[in-house]
Amino acid sequence: MAQASGGAARPVLEVEGITKAFPGVVANDDVSLTLNQGEIHCLLGENGAGKSTLVNMVFGLYRPDQGTIKVRGEEVHFEDSGDAIARGIGMVHQHFQLIPVFTVAENIILGNEVTKGAFLDLDSARRQIDSLAERYGLAVDPDATVGELSVGEQQRVELVKALFRDADILILDEPTAVLTPGEVDDFFGVVESLTGQGKSIIFITHKLREVLAVADRITVLRAGRVVGTATAEGATQQSLANLMVGRDVVFRVDKGEADPGAPVLRTQGLRVADDRGVETVTGFDVEVRAGEIFGIAGVEGNGQRELVEAVCGMRPTAGGRVEMLGQETTDWSPRKITELGVAHVPENRSKHGVVAQYTIADNLVLNRYHHRKFSQRGVRNTAAINAEAQELVEQFDVRTPGVDAVIDTLSGGNQQKVIVARELTGDIKALVVAQPTRGLDVGSIEFIHRKIIELRDQGVAVLLVSAELDEILSLSDRIGVLYRGRLAGTVNAADATREELGLLMATGSSEGQR
């Protein structure tokens, strides 16, 4: 590993006091970071902590609201990623930016084509690629078609692509998230050979073991702020987990003891595949009783989305069964499940939760426009719809000029309140909520949390899925950690510690040894 310590450390990248806000959320708040020559600097934090926002600014994809970025001591203002590339910054995104039907060589030269007259000079490109590959131990076949390569090989192509553009500051956004354990070890070898030859690396991850294995220095982000820096020698998984999830409770939700009743929602050996056909829920068993909130914690991408969609009928199951209210509801249609009394606050607000061009009133009846109250003999009763909307807008404190306002004109928090208002009213017996407060302001978060607890106290069974550990801890009565599509462990919320959950989330076991 490179010499991070000692007087020879020369900063190649200095980020000073960066602030970046998006509507409704401050993604980065006065963040500073220094990357030294030949160093591996890990950026650690939970989902939503602001890691990607930060590196996207360094790579010229976003512009900071405040603060400066210096490359090799010189202040820079990137207009786009082209400017960043010109300064020797390369980025490997979490989702590869490759064209599957092109060859490795074609992908690497894309946008930076080596030409001879009007023709591509693939021979010379191939030679350059081979020499880069040899120098850094990145075995790639320039003539292979990218679509036929494994994920690990595709990642090497991305690295060569960045090196081909003379990058010496490399940003790797969750590079190991998609790799198998064996590939991860190979990858670490490559990373060390890169820094050995003078490249500097920003490595984004939320996997503690990896941080300790490769990092020279570590910066921990939480809710957009730097909450700590450490060296690999001085840190332990435990200390990093503490920093990452934080000790301060942001929201103390007042709630009484749960009084759980009969089981309402149960899954047995549930298996579900994602859009690519990969099974991401791999045998999930849970039982949620009336009057309790069962929180599902976990790093995103461990099957949460597919689990929720399968339970609510939006996605076919690949195996196992779902029971709700004493009936087997496996692969029922969303309409049938809704009519049974199961409400669903979807994870993706704009894709599933609302029709952006519709009014607030129409969005409030999106799943019950056909009920007799709102439609007689196939004709919509606009008066009844508006009256209902008016009532819900008041009851749920939606800040809007009127129920006939197009919902897209509202802030994210108010849109979410509309969804919550729609889902949490009526005769519901079970509630499935996914990321209910993502990107919302403090007031909306508290409001939504209170509503969920109210429902629990009325005897509704609540399945809560959230990437926010705080939210899980403050709302849940029992907590299960989802790791690679199954429950890694279930704990009573009263006994749960952040440390234990953090380890379960990151490693799938409370010893943290996996």
Binding site: F22, T53, S333, E339, N348, K351, G353, V355, A356, G378
Partner: protein
Amino acid sequence: MNGARNANAGIGRAAGQVHRVLTEAWRLQPLYVSLYAILLSFVVGGVLISIIGVNPFTAYWALLRGMVGGGDEIAGSLARSVPFIGSALALAFAFRAGLFNIGAEGQLLAGGVTAAYVGALSWMSDLPGIVAIPLILIAGTMGGAIWGGIPGVLRTKTGAHEVISTIMLNSLVLFGVRWMVNSRDPVVLRDTESTVPRTDPISDTAVLPELVDSQPVLHTGLFALVGICFVVAFVLKRTTFGFEVGTVGLNPHASHYAGINVNRVIVASMAASGAFAGLAAASEISGTNGFFQPGTFFLMGFDGIAIALLARTNPVAIIAAALLWGSMLSGAPLMQQEADVSIDVVRIIQAMVLLFVAADAIVRYLFRVRELDQSPFKATSVEGAV
């Protein structure tokens, strides 16, 4: 050098202003842009006519008189416009469900041939008109609905895109009916006593009553098609089914989440679209032709696309757009006769109308991409990827 760059920047800014003005106009008054497109097309058409050496005002005056210069002209223009209403609705309805039905051409043929077949059945002459006429119209409507429904089914079952499948079905039905009507051995639908290839004449009882003996004949099919426009407007605006169609069109994911049967809506919308084309064809068979000839409906479906886009898929505006379209075609011969300007000039003007309407959509599309780049897009990435 510098001046040129400044001029370029100036033009760019001016174009940006125009885009913004257009975009605003679009949002506030959707049909304003269509009127603007029509005006612009006539201006460019006028330039074209003067290049040929004719005074454009003379030509347009003749065209106008050909369109609405007298009772017969008005009736003829109306008659010419009636079927366009149906073929435009065929695009517009599916469009509301997020589908691009460019199969009206084929759906007209399927509806027309079914109507002609049913209308010529021997027992039709035993029925009173009050039964026979609805029967022939229903038959045509069903024929169109089935031909329109097939791409809907293909879309939901196999994922085949309706643009591709409707084009294919257009060819299939075109050559299919051509063969059925032409063939003498075996005789399928050909009227063997006729020297031109056409089907047997329909029963007299199945003929829609005539309103004006104009060229072409103005018949009571006018009421059916205008009425349908208002029905469609009501369905889309006020009914539960219309709400489902609009929801699927705007956000199929949210529709699925909200419990709407998206596949059922897609098939029903495509079938309804085909039904409107089928009805238009049946009313022509019954009210104008009295038999089926494939050439009757040539380009009528594609004109329907232009009309529907001109009317911004608003069913009531379609009536006006179809009237404009039909009367321009109906008035063109007088322009040719009096000002010696080819009928094709009207076709060119119509093509330009569509071009300007479509080009405006392209501008809007480009503009939206730029807009997305500013904040909303990045706001979404915050949710997804921070």
